[in-house]
Symmetry: C2
Subunit: 446 residues, 2 copies
C-alpha cells in the first residue's frame, strides 16, 4: 500500500530535523520520501492521503523494557510491601497463568501500546511452550524483541526454549519479530550461566544475525541491595558495582540491554560507556516500587545510550510512553535540582532513536528516514491541553497524552486510525481479558 | 433538572464508602440520594438516566492550587534555568497580557479541567480590572475560589482590588464562586502587610462569611532558599522555618491554604498541625521546576490536611489531576524508599474531600453525600489500560487518564457529556487561544 501522511510538523528524530507543513511517503513497509507537504503532495498525488494538519508526524515510540504478558496482573494488590506483594500476591497468581492468559494479556498490552503510539516493544517473560508474547505481537501487527527469561534453576529448560524461540520467531512476521537471550538478573543467574548465555548470544548472532542483530536483555542494578543478593546467592563479592562484576565475567558488550541501572557506581558508569552497554530507564516503575532513581544525567554525560521503558503492567500500571517521557524528565530535574536536566528533545530521542539503538535495530527504525521501515505515529495537537503551541517537542513531553495519538503505522500498515485499532477488535480483547481474570481468580481460590 | 447516574461503582469519598452497582440522584444543584442502582432506579424512575455501567461515579476533583490565566504561556520556553525562564521569557510575555488574554487563558484551563474531571479550582493571579478568572469560571460553569494576589509594592492597588473582588464575586454565580485573600509569598509580602492581610481575611469573613468561608491562599516554602529571600527582602532572620516565622507574626490558622510546603522544618510541621494550616502538594510543578519534594508522608503523620494541585499551566504544563495523582503517590514512594507510601485511597482523598476541606468548602463539596452540591464525575473504566479490574481506587490513581472522564456535573448541571464540553464551544476557545498567542507574540516583538 502507498500512503502520504501530510500537513503536520514532521519530527524526523534524525537528519532533516523538524519540518513544518511536512509530509512522509510510504510504499509497502518502507518510508520512501520525507519533505514539505506542498512538494510531495503533487509528486505523490495518487497515494492515499492521511490528513495530519495540526498534528505531529514522528517515529513510533520504542518501549525498551516490558513484560507484556503481565497485564492480567495490573492493579492486583498495589500498595503492599515488595516482598509481600510478590510472595503473597503476584507469584501465586502468576503460577496459575496459562499460555492462553499470556496470549490475552499480551494482546491487551499490545493494543494499549499501539493506541498510545508505541510501535516497538522489548519484552521479557517466562517460558512459554507456545510463545504467546511473540504470537500476540505478530497477530496484532506490532514490532518487538521477544526474550526468554533464563534462571539458574532451569538451565536445561532455558536452553531448549531459546533454541525453539530463535528457530521459530527470529526475523519472522515480515521481519517484525526478533528473539533475544534474557538472563533474568545477576542475582538469579550464576556466573557460569551468565558466561554461557553470553556465548549463546554470540552463537545466535552468528547463526541468525543476518535476519537481525541478536541482543541480550537483562535486569541490572534495579535496587541498591543487588550486590548483597549476588553474594548471598553465589558467594561472590561485588565491591565495585554490578557492572564491574559483569565486566569481570566478560559478558558485557554493545548488544547488552540493561534494564533499570538504578544503583550504579562511578566505575559501573565508566564500564558501561567503555563497553557500549545500553541502559533502559524505567522511571515510573522505579518510583512505584521505590527502587531508586537512575543517574541518567551522569549516564548521558558519560555518553551511554539511554532508552526508555515502562516496565511491566503490574509495576507501572500502564504501557503509556507519553506518561513515561514526562516522568523521565521531571524525575531527573528534581533529583538533580536542575530544571534544565533532561530537556524535552533528549527525552524524545530516548523514546525513539535511542530505543532503536538500544535494541540494535536503528538501521530500520527509530527515525523517519527514507529507506527505514514505516513505523510512524501522528499525534493530534488540536487539544485544549496542547493549546496554544510554541514548541512541539515541549508539548509532546510535558503535556501530550497517549490518548492524543490519532494514527499509527507499523511496517507500513495503518494499525490505528482516528484513535481506533484496526487490526483486531479492542472490545473482544478487553472481554477476553476480563474473562481471563475471573478464571484466574477462581483457579487461585479453587 | 433531575438526574439519576446509575450502574457504576460509586466512590462516595465519605460515609457509604464504595457502592458497587450504585446510583446517585440529583435534584437541581444538590445530591438527594445515594445507594444501590436497583433500589434507586425504581424510586426515581422518571428522572433522566445517565448510564454509568463499567464506570466509577465519584466526586469532582478539587485542584487546590492553580493560576488559570497562565495557559497562554504553556510550553513557552521550557527547559531554561529558573531565573532566565522568568526574567527573559515569562515576565516579559506576562507583561503584555491583556484582560482579554486572561479571560481566554482562563476559559482554556477551565475547559481542560472540566474535561479532565476537575470541578473546583483554587486560583491566584494578578490584578484584573475586570476579573477575568472569575468571569471564565462563571461562564463555563465550573466552581472556584478566585484570589487577588497581593505584593508589598502595590498595597493600595491590592486593597481596592480585594474590596471589589469580594463585593462583586464572593458567593456569586449560584454560589459557585468565592473570593480569597492571596498574599503572594512570605518573601514578597512584608511582615506588616502579612498581618494586615490576615486581619483583612478576618474582616471579609465577618462581612461575607455567610456566603461561604473566606480563606487566605499563599505560596509557602516552595524552595529551600526562602529564608534567605525573606532576610534579603525584609531583614528578618528565619531560623526555625518559614511557618515558624509566619506563626510569630500571628497570621496562621485553619483558613490558611499554603501551596507547595516543600522546604519544611520539624517545627514548621508541628506548627502547621497545631494551627490547622492546610497544605497543597504540587508534585508535577515541584519536579519540573526542580524545587524539591514536599515531606507529605510526615505532614500526614502529623495530621496536617494535605490537598493536591497542578500549579499553573506554565510550570506543569497541564491541568491534569489524574496525572498529578499518580505523580503525587509515586514521588512519595521513591523519596521515602517505601512502596506503600501514599497509597491510592489516600491520594484520592487528597484530590477530593481533602481539597474541599483545604478550601473550607467541605460542607458542600468533596464527597458524594445527600445534601451536598452535585459536583460529580463519571470515569469510564472500559479502556484497555484499565482492564482487567481488581480495584477501582488503584486504577484511578495508577492507570486512569483525564481522557477517561466521560461525564461531569457541576452544581447539578451536566457540563461534560460523553467526553464533550456542553457549556461552551471547545473549538472556539482553542481558536481564541491560538489567536491570542499570535497577538501576544507580535506585541512582544512590536
Amino acid at each position: 500500500m502507498e500512503f502520504i501522511i501530510k500537513g503536520g510538523t514532521v519530527l524526523t528524530m534524525g537528519p532533516g530535523g523538524r519540518i513544518r507543513d511536512g509530509a512522509v511517503v510510504i510504499e509497502d513497509d518502507r518510508i520512501v520520501d520525507v519533505g514539505k507537504a506542498r512538494e510531495l503532495g503533487s509528486k505523490y498525488g495518487r497515494y492515499e492521503a492521511v490528513d495530519a494538519r495540526g498534528c505531529v508526524i514522528m517515529p513510533g515510540l520504542v518501549n525498551a523494557h516490558q513484560h507484556i504478558s503481565m497485564s492480567l496482573l495490573r492493579g492486583y494488590a498495589d500498595d503492599h510491601p515488595l516482598k509481600e506483594w510478590l510472595e503473597k500476591y503476584i507469584w501465586p497468581l502468576e503460577a496459575k497463568m496459562t499460555g492462553r492468559d499470556m496470549y490475552v494479556g499480551s494482546l491487551l498490552t499490545c493494543a494499549e501500546s499501539l493506541l498510545g503510539g508505541v510501535t516497538t516493544v522489548n519484552t521479557m517473560y517466562h517460558y512459554q511452550p507456545d510463545w504467546n508474547e511473540a504470537k500476540a505481537i505478530a497477530d496484532i501487527c506490532m514490532r518487538g524483541v521477544v526474550g526468554h527469561v533464563c534462571f539458574s534453576w532451569r538451565k536445561e529448560e532455558d536452553r531448549r526454549a531459546l533454541e525453539a524461540l530463535f528457530r521459530d520467531w527470529h526475523g519472522k512476521a515480515d521481519g517484525r519479530l526478533r528473539a533475544s537471550v534474557d538472563p533474568h538478573a545477576p542475582y538469579t543467574v550464576d556466573p557460569d550461566y551468565l558466561v554461557e548465555l553470553r556465548a549463546l548470544t554470540d552463537r545466535y548472532n552468528e547463526r541468525y544475525g543476518h535476519l537481525g542483530r541478536v541482543v541480550m536483555h537483562i535486569h541490572v542494578a534495579e535496587t541498591p541491595d543487588e550486590p548483597d543478593k549476588i553474594r548471598e546467592a553465589f558467594g561472590r563479592e561485588v565491591k565495585e558495582g554490578v557492572f564491574a562484576y559483569l565486566n569481570e565475567l566478560g559478558v558485557l558488550g554493545p548488544d547488552v540491554v540493561a534494564a533499570h541501572c538504578v544503583a550504579l557506581t562511578d566505575r559501573d558508569i565508566a564500564i558501561m560507556a567503555e563497553k557500549g552497554v545500553k541502559a533502559v530507564y524505567n522511571p515510573v516503575s522505579n518510583m512505584k516500587l521505590a527502587s531508586g532513581i537512575s543517574p541518567v544525567v551522569r549516564l548521558l554525560r558519560a555518553k551511554v545510550t539511554v532508552a526508555l521503558g515502562t516496565d511491566g503492567p503490574s509495576s507501572n500500571n500502564t504501557a503509556d510512553m507519553f506518561e513515561t517521557m514526562k516522568f523521565a524528565s521531571l524525575l531527573q530535574k528534581v533529583a538533580s535540582g536542575d530544571p534544565t536536566a533532561l530537556p524535552a528533545r533528549q527525552v524524545l530521542e530516548m523514546a525513539t532513536i535511542r530505543g532503536a539503538e538500544a535494541l540494535s535495530w536503528s538501521d530500520e527504525i527509530g527515525s523517519i528516514e527514507p529507506g527505514k521501515k514505516a513505523d510512524i505515529i501522528v499525534v493530534d495537537l488540536k487539544k485544549p491541553h496542547l493549546t496554544p503551541l510554541y514548541d512541539e517537542e515541549s508539548h509532546l513531553v510535558y503535556a501530550a497524552r497517549s490518548s492524543d495519538v490519532k494514527t499509527v503505522f507499523v511496517n507500513g500498515r495503518p494499525v490505528v486510525e482516528n484513535g481506533r485499532l484496526t487490526t483486531m477488535s479492542l472490545e473482544e480483547i478487553m472481554e477476553m481479558a476480563a474473562k481471563a481474570r475471573e478464571d484466574l481468580l477462581s483457579r487461585l481460590e479453587g
